[in-house]
């Protein structure tokens, strides 16, 4: 009976100290460098692979027409606004003729002056001709000297040359007059094709130089996407491959399209391959030119082939390979890889068989001497 109080105390003390020591031993063995590394395994499976290429691009118009005057002038009137649809031949606006009409009148006057000068030259030639003939007759009648006849013939030649000069002068003036006339018709800015007005670059009253665009048109039916692919990831890009286009403003919605062409000139600075992708059907409402899009080009599906997750691929001392687990032992096996898809699956061409187990995820970097402990998911990561 008297023994009980003592033993109860001992028991209580043991009840506290033993779990404490057990915990201590557990902590010493399970944490720190003595602990094994948790890994998650994956099995090499035979699956078909749908590789794809991913790039981003911008919506561009295939053809952009910049309508402007051919001489410097002032914009008088614009008939269209941004967003208007126009037909070929439609008058988009007009330039201010300024002094064009005065030039035309001046040129008309010069033309008349040229006409008059032509008449005068003609009259002179007629006269010279008559004189030359008369003096030739007089020479035959020995009423005049040969010198006089020569002079009159000379005059005739001069008059003929003068007529030619006046005639050509008149052609020149006429041509200049026609040029001014053409310019007057050029005062109208005409739409060359059916299209959509995308910008008004100069408002009425603005003075523009020759060649400066006043109105810009695009053909909305020729919107395409200018896509850039990293050169490393552009293997297999070819025309007529089908593509999924996702606009930045409509993330999640895919539109169908196809690759029109791969640009022969790549971007050497950014190391990207360029390509043009067109929509199968132009989206309605029209996506703005310049909007960012994401394009996924689907490559031909690969038949069933051994595939591994790309998280299992490691590069050790220059060799690409995987950590294979056979009977609990860890080995690094170099592999040769093939095509990869966008979901992280990569084809194994050599080095592994279907059914082999490899390390997909590990808590720490592995080496040949690591002790591993297979788990379903790495602690700390919610599944």
């Amino acid at each position: 009976m008297k023994k009980l109080p003592f033993q109860k105390r001992t028991l209580a003390l043991i009840a506290v100290l033993v779990p404490l020591l057990a915990l201590f031993v557990y902590v010493a063995l399970r944490s720190g460098p003595l602990a094994p590394v948790s890994v998650v395994l994956a099995t090499i499976e035979n699956k078909s692979l749908s590789p794809a290429l991913f790039g981003i691009g911008t919506i561009e118009a295939r053809y952009t027409y910049k309508i402007g005057p051919t001489v410097a002038g002032r914009v008088k009137r614009l008939n269209v606004h941004v967003g208007d649809r126009v037909k070929a031949g439609q008058v988009l606006g007009e330039m201010d003729p300024v002094d064009l009409y005065d030039h035309i009148r001046a040129q008309d006057a010069t033309l008349k002056q040229a006409d008059a000068q032509l008449n005068e030259a003609q009259v002179r030639r007629d006269y010279a001709q008559t004189q030359a003939l008369r003096y030739e007759q007089l020479l035959q009648a020995r009423s005049t000297s040969e010198e006089v006849v020569a002079t009159k013939q000379h005059d005739l030649l001069v008059a003929k040359a003068g007529l030619t000069a006046a005639r050509e002068e008149r052609s020149r003036v006429r041509a200049e007059r026609e040029a001014l006339g053409a310019q007057r018709s050029n005062l109208s800015l005409i739409a060359p094709v059916d299209g959509l007005v995308v910008s008004r670059d100069a408002e009425p009253g603005t003075t523009v130089v020759a060649g400066q665009a006043v109105v810009e048109l695009i053909d909305p039916n020729t919107l395409w996407v200018n896509v850039r692919f990293d050169q490393i990831r552009a293997q297999g890009l070819a025309p007529s491959l089908s593509a999924q286009i996702s606009l930045r403003s409509q993330a999640g919605e895919q539109k169908a399209g196809r690759v029109l062409r791969v640009e022969p000139l790549a971007d050497a600075v950014t190391e990207e391959t360029l390509a043009k992708v067109v929509f199968d059907q132009i989206p309605d409402p029209l996506p703005p030119v310049g909007e960012l899009v994401e394009v996924t080009v689907t490559l031909p599906t690969l038949g069933a082939t051994p595939i591994a997750p790309n998280a299992a691929i490691h590069n050790i001392d220059g060799n690409l390979g995987v950590w294979q687990v056979t009977n609990g032992a860890l080995h690094f096996i170099p592999v040769s890889l093939g095509i990869a898809d966008l979901e992280g699956r990569v084809q194994i061409r050599e080095g592994l068989q279907v059914g082999d187990q490899v390390v997909a995820y590990s808590e720490n970097t592995l080496n040949e001497h690591s002790r591993i402990h297979v788990v379903d998911h790495i602690p700390g990561v919610t599944p």
Partner: protein, 236 residues
């Protein structure tokens, strides 16, 4: 352990030196035979505790002679090298309060002394239990000191004083906190133990309840002891 008891001759103790010297003990003569229980009585300041400390080999006297059994332990200088062993083996102490070690059970409290002397644990405990039987506290052998009544604790303390079978036991006011019935019980026990183990017991006290029980009394005044006849009353 001899049958000669304790004998003290001309013990002196001086504290300090020169002008400030104090002679706590001037001339102390005592002898106690084995089996005898004598009282040591004196007012405070009389040198009572100094004498006890000298007897207990706790402080060193200035001059005189102390003989324990057959051995001279002091003759104008300690004649024994290991005072601690002397206290442990040849002098027993019983104090005013039991002063039991609170974290040892009463058996181990008593058995500690023989263990310190080198006795194996089992034998030491057996001896402690024998003493408990003699003191009628055997039924409390496994208890902790705090679980015992005052009287039981005092008896355990007496057992501790006796356990090494010392030739002399110094009891310092052993009955001070007790009522008359218990006080007489303690004195009776001391007398019984003294006879049984042939121990000389010196009881320092001023307890009027037990003074009449002594056959011999030493009165100490101003550092000098005077032997007196006691009443020798029986313990009722």
């Amino acid at each position: 352990m001899t049958a000669k008891g304790i004998r003290i001759q001309g013990l002196k103790k001086r504290y300090g030196s020169g002008d400030t010297a104090v002679d706590a003990l001037k001339a102390v003569d005592m002898h106690v035979a084995p089996g005898e229980v004598v009282g040591l009585i004196g007012p405070s300041g009389s040198g009572k505790s100094t004498l006890l400390k000298c007897l207990g080999a706790v402080i060193e006297p200035t001059a005189g002679k102390m003989i324990l059994g057959d051995d001279v332990i002091y003759d104008d200088g300690w004649k024994v090298k290991d005072l601690r062993a002397l206290r442990r083996d040849r002098i027993g102490f019983v104090f005013q309060a039991p002063y039991l070690i609170p974290f040892l059970d009463v058996t181990d409290n008593v058995a500690l002394l023989p263990m310190l002397a080198g006795m194996p644990n089992a034998g030491a405990r057996k001896r402690a239990i024998e003493l408990f039987k003699a003191l009628d506290v055997e039924h409390r052998a496994k208890a902790m000191p705090s679980q015992l009544s005052g009287g039981e604790q005092q008896r355990v303390a007496i057992a501790r004083g006796l356990v090494n079978r010392p030739p002399v036991i110094l009891a310092d006011e052993p009955t001070a906190p007790l009522d008359s019935e218990r006080a007489l019980a303690v004195i009776r026990i001391l007398n019984d133990m003294a006879k049984k183990f042939e121990t000389a017991i010196i009881v320092v006290t001023h307890d009027e309840k037990i003074i009449p029980t002594f056959k011999r009394i030493y009165n100490i005044r101003d550092g000098v002891t005077y032997e007196e006849e006691g009443e020798g009353r029986s313990f009722e």
